[in-house]
Symmetry: D2
């Protein structure tokens, strides 16, 4: 059983607590830290915490606590991790791990040196659809992965600190891109090195300093491409989609706006519909079970079972650091307008990969380029002559 201290009583802290106390859970949020006493009190009331404080260290150090869950603004993660290391408390930290790779690497080292458990709360790498997709990718159902795109766009975050570059460390790219980067990295293979990033980012709509729209390509050592599209300017709800192309298949995941629930209402009786929905009349597309469908349940299960079994979870502080390093390169690229190398002072995966070649032998003299049925009924081959490199057509009977 995990006895959890929640650091932060805002939107994401409450979402986490809903998951942690959901269904027939054996775990319990026992303590809450918030910067404002009022927030801490409300949270303690709502979730039945026996201890509350506006002093973070007190909460972390509390003897009832054996797991700390960081749900604070980005600029406070490092300090919280430091205290967990000091008090030897296992810790799980919300995304992004740091504001920069430097910060994230320091957090990783603190945890590793302290010998405590460190889990990176990348919920979108734990959604049921993502997990099922990863199974298929691991089974080879898609062949060699060529491209993995993740998109997260919505009309902007819920709390004021996100909009303040100082506290947040960035705009939508840090806030949402961290999800997308790690999703693509999983599909392509976590042991494949990300080498360089090309990024466009701009402040197109909102009256803020940070970017509210960004798109980037991340090149991996084996030639695969990760792509992200993130924005705080999207209209119509929260758009959460992943797409993967492999030599043998395709995966399309829609995690939020089109999941098999469709409702039209003239507006009577309408209430909270879903995270970041923009309307409560007309056609609406709520998800059934936000905490499960957004991955929180499977994430905490993996975190706590891993902690109890003394093994690393699927998403660690190391992963959080890699994500930050990729985003650092993206920010740099958005400003230099160059492909920027991903700086990885620590790298634990494979090195020296090259792009696999995929030549399909047709016969002794030809490679197969393509075979297809045409709409006028031909069974057509397109072949490449090995000797000459010439491309020819041939019809099968």
């Amino acid at each position: 059983m995990q006895r959890i201290a929640m650091l932060g009583g805002g939107f994401i802290g409450r979402f986490y607590a809903d998951s942690l106390h959901g269904q027939r859970s054996r775990d319990k949020v026992v303590a809450i830290y918030a910067r404002r006493e009022e927030t801490a009190k409300k949270f303690a009331d709502d979730y039945g915490c026996s201890f509350l404080s506006t002093n973070m260290e007190e909460v972390i150090a509390h003897p009832d606590v054996n797991m700390v869950c960081i749900a604070l603004p980005n600029n406070l993660h490092a300090a919280a991790v430091e205290l967990c290391a000091k008090h030897k408390k296992n810790v799980v930290c919300t995304k992004p791990l740091g504001r920069t790779a430097d910060e994230a690497l320091r957090m990783m080292q603190l945890v590793e040196e302290a010998g405590i458990f460190g889990g990176y709360l990348e919920d979108l790498c734990y959604t049921p659809k993502f997990l099922k997709a990863m199974d298929s990718v691991r089974n080879g159902a898609l062949g060699r992965i060529l491209w993995a795109k993740s998109r997260e766009t919505h009309p902007g975050p819920h709390s004021n600190w996100f909009w303040d570059k100082e506290q947040a460390g960035g705009g939508c790219m840090l806030d949402l891109g961290c999800h997308c980067v790690e999703i693509a990295r999983n599909f392509i293979g976590k042991d494949v090195k990300p080498v360089e990033v090309m990024c466009w980012a701009a402040t197109q709509v909102k009256p803020i300093e940070a970017e509210d729209h960004a798109i980037a390509l991340v090149k991996y050592e084996n030639g695969a491409i990760g792509q992200f599209e993130v924005s705080w300017t999207f209209r119509g709800g929260m758009d959460l989609r992943d797409e993967v192309m492999g030599t043998e298949g395709t995966i399309w995941i829609n995690s939020f706006l089109r999941t098999g629930f469709e409702m039209f209402t003239t507006g009577k009786g309408a209430d909270y519909v879903a995270e970041k929905a923009e309307s409560n009349t007309g056609w609406l597309f709520p998800v059934g079970d936000e905490v499960n469908d957004l991955g929180y349940n499977h994430m905490f299960t993996d975190m706590f079972v891993s902690a109890e079994e003394g093994r690393p979870p699927a998403e660690t502080f190391y992963d959080g650091y890699i994500v930050n390093a990729i985003l650092d390169a993206a920010y740099k690229s958005a400003s230099t307008k160059q492909w920027e190398p991903v700086q990885l002072p620590v790298w634990r995966g494979r090195e020296g990969l090259t792009q696999e070649t995929t030549l399909t032998e047709y016969d002794a003299d030809h490679y197969l380029i393509k075979q297809e049925m045409t709409h006028d009924g031909r069974n057509k081959l397109i072949l490449k002559e090995k000797a000459t490199g010439k491309i020819i057509e041939r019809d099968l009977a």
Copy 2:
């Protein structure tokens, strides 16, 4: 904490156990009964049960057990409930409750007389989408419910006993229709009396005695219509859809084949895709999290929390009995080709409802029939003159 005895180690028993032991559950399947020792042993191994037996009463009576979960063929439900009543063990029973309303009513009475907890495992009334839809319906987002249709079709069940009318008590109508009937009844209102049923059923394809395809309309006292479409002859996977029409809105739920996960594969590496999928190449549509998306998690949570708090769950043996009574009328109707009354010796809801009238006043002299924008740009009214009953058109400027 619930210490559960599972009766039945087949397909559904294993599915239940997957849910019961899922995530960070505090509950445990401690004992297993199966008719064949081999099945019981495999189950005990796989799920870590400390007690196994081919003697049902032994399992039910085992002192470690405080909750019995019936996952047996339909013809064995009543005997199992009898033993639970005898040993005063709380019990939850898979669907359908009985093979007939008589049988179900007897089971309900046994439970009520014994003062034990009786939960009806109607999982499809606990899917996350269904629960969210019910919230909207209760909030009035759909206005008055006019029609609720539920459809469950697939290529046929997994175990041989389903195909044997003796053990199963019926064909696809009993097997699948029980879900659909209770879904529609929830949307229309559980306190609204089902009055009569018109049903078509036939054995169109399979070499069996029972029906493999059936469609029925269930008329409720307030004029609302429940509809079900069930079949064991469907090709393409498992089709699970609900549709609801109300005076103010519409709900469409797709619980299985189109839920936002789409995969194409040429077939390499393909494995088990989903319950009742028919193929593992081409375009496939697995759900992310079968035990959650099919309602098992929310169902057991409601059952066990209710049992612990001493209140009835959302789905009780009484509900199971009502469902059986509606299906009895459906079977009778399929044979008499008449609308058949639903026989309800016990009825605990409202009586004497009539259809609500919905007249929308336009002005002192007219009712509004319709207002709309036409494709040639008119803002058009269709009105009914109160005095004459005449229908007229009028254009707004």
Copy 3:
């Protein structure tokens, strides 16, 4: 080239004219009849007709006209056909052909005796998706057809006469059911005799005499079932869907609300979205090309090419009469609450069909009921012993 007289300048007449003059058409609406001169004038202006009149016979008899298109309220179809027969003008008539089978049969006989061309404008049997589906069905891709359902529901028609039982001859069942009946009949086979109908119909919402919601099952001689669901009480736009089940496959067609075009708008600049849309903000689902997607283009092409080549079109007055006969039985059934026979004084299809049996031989001693991969990895057979009728399970290695 067809020189067309349009009878009726309302909603459907204009829709027809949009199709007739669409793209690079060689045909032309040359004359217009409307009951009100103002309507005729506007139509003539908008579509460039050289002749207009409020005298129907004058328009039909006009020497420039070689094809009459009836786009009038239901109660005026028969009189218009009579005039076409008298003046030996080819005629195409909107749906439903008559208000009853008697009326429709008389119209059919008038046309046949006059030796003129008679086309039944059942546009939904000409939508591109329907035509492609029919090709697949004819090719055998679905095997033997078991069930064909068609659904058309929306918030009610555009013109006042629809709401008046006298002029319309019925409610939503006659207005919309005629489409659905003919769609199902096509899928099941036009030469298969419809034998009886079970129908529920009610006036659930609107302040009218006729039904605003109806559901029916149509049984065909070979055991196949046609189903329709029609309503004027649906909220959310126009729901046009067909579903077909066969022994070898499934078809799902969505012709209107979900066709691959999705738009969200806060409402600026919104205008006419689509036929029977109910909103112009939030998520909207217009079709791309209404006249093509609703079948008008392919319908008129078939009609005029058939007329020019002297052969019957795919949808004839005979088909219109069969549809009316089925709807007559449906109306009767809604009132008697019995399965009512379809009265067909004229029948030109096959007689004496019985249900095909589909026994799949597994080996000398067994029929195959089902083979499947289960989620615990078994390759399982369900077989029926020929000798005993017993159902058994067997696992393949």
Copy 4:
């Protein structure tokens, strides 16, 4: 009436002819040129052409011909246009116009100097969905356009010349990217100058010289971003999707794989399903009416009506040249790894645009960043203090 000479009797020439002779068309393909006599003969037979030749000039110069339709490999477009100019024949040319902007510009100048009609056959800017989307964008339903993405991927083209860089002039980027570039340019505004391009391109799978996968961002002068994703390595059919984000709305178009037609078949009777489908069993997603849904009908209507009325069509040779210029920059960028400027020696749109600012006044002291309902029921404002730039939260009652 147009009397058309078709140059090229391959896949695209036949597709064009199917559209040109479709429905009740008044136009006619009267002459065919093909490089191989056998191809010309088959085409002439199939489409009823009265003249055929393997001499291109003969066909263009033929007195019956008043419109030339170029459906040839990319390397032959310029020569064909030259002959049209010489013989003063109106001409429409398939996409891409040239292999480079230089070539395309020369073609544009030839046409303009000869005073003949020049239409650019960019069919995907004529699909019914695209046209409807453009209406909404022009009406302002999406507000200011921020981003427009177009994606076309499939398993590779039908004819051998596409795979030969010499004849094709490029790989999937030239073949498919030309569509995507022009789609995005339409949404963003044709008078808005494309300024620079960032592109990734690679040969990931196929044994060819040219790229088989490419992704690019096109920056427009007003800050809007066009994006394309193109590939010949996609598995699962032909993926044709557009997405547009504006300050007031969103558009998602699916033109091929998910358009409301879904079929499952075990495989009996299956035949040609759709352009570039990869399978004919399992779940299949054909479109209803390829020639209409891919834009051919509306395209030729616009072309011929424009030619007859003496005005430019929606897509001209000038547009084709702009598209080539953007693709030239994309190819250069893929090689230099820099944002490359779009070289436009001729530009006829607006100059000097800057990004519009979108500050929403909340009250005298604040700008509005966001207003939303949270899942715990708050109606929350996020505001920016004008004086300090500070971001604050405020709850509305």
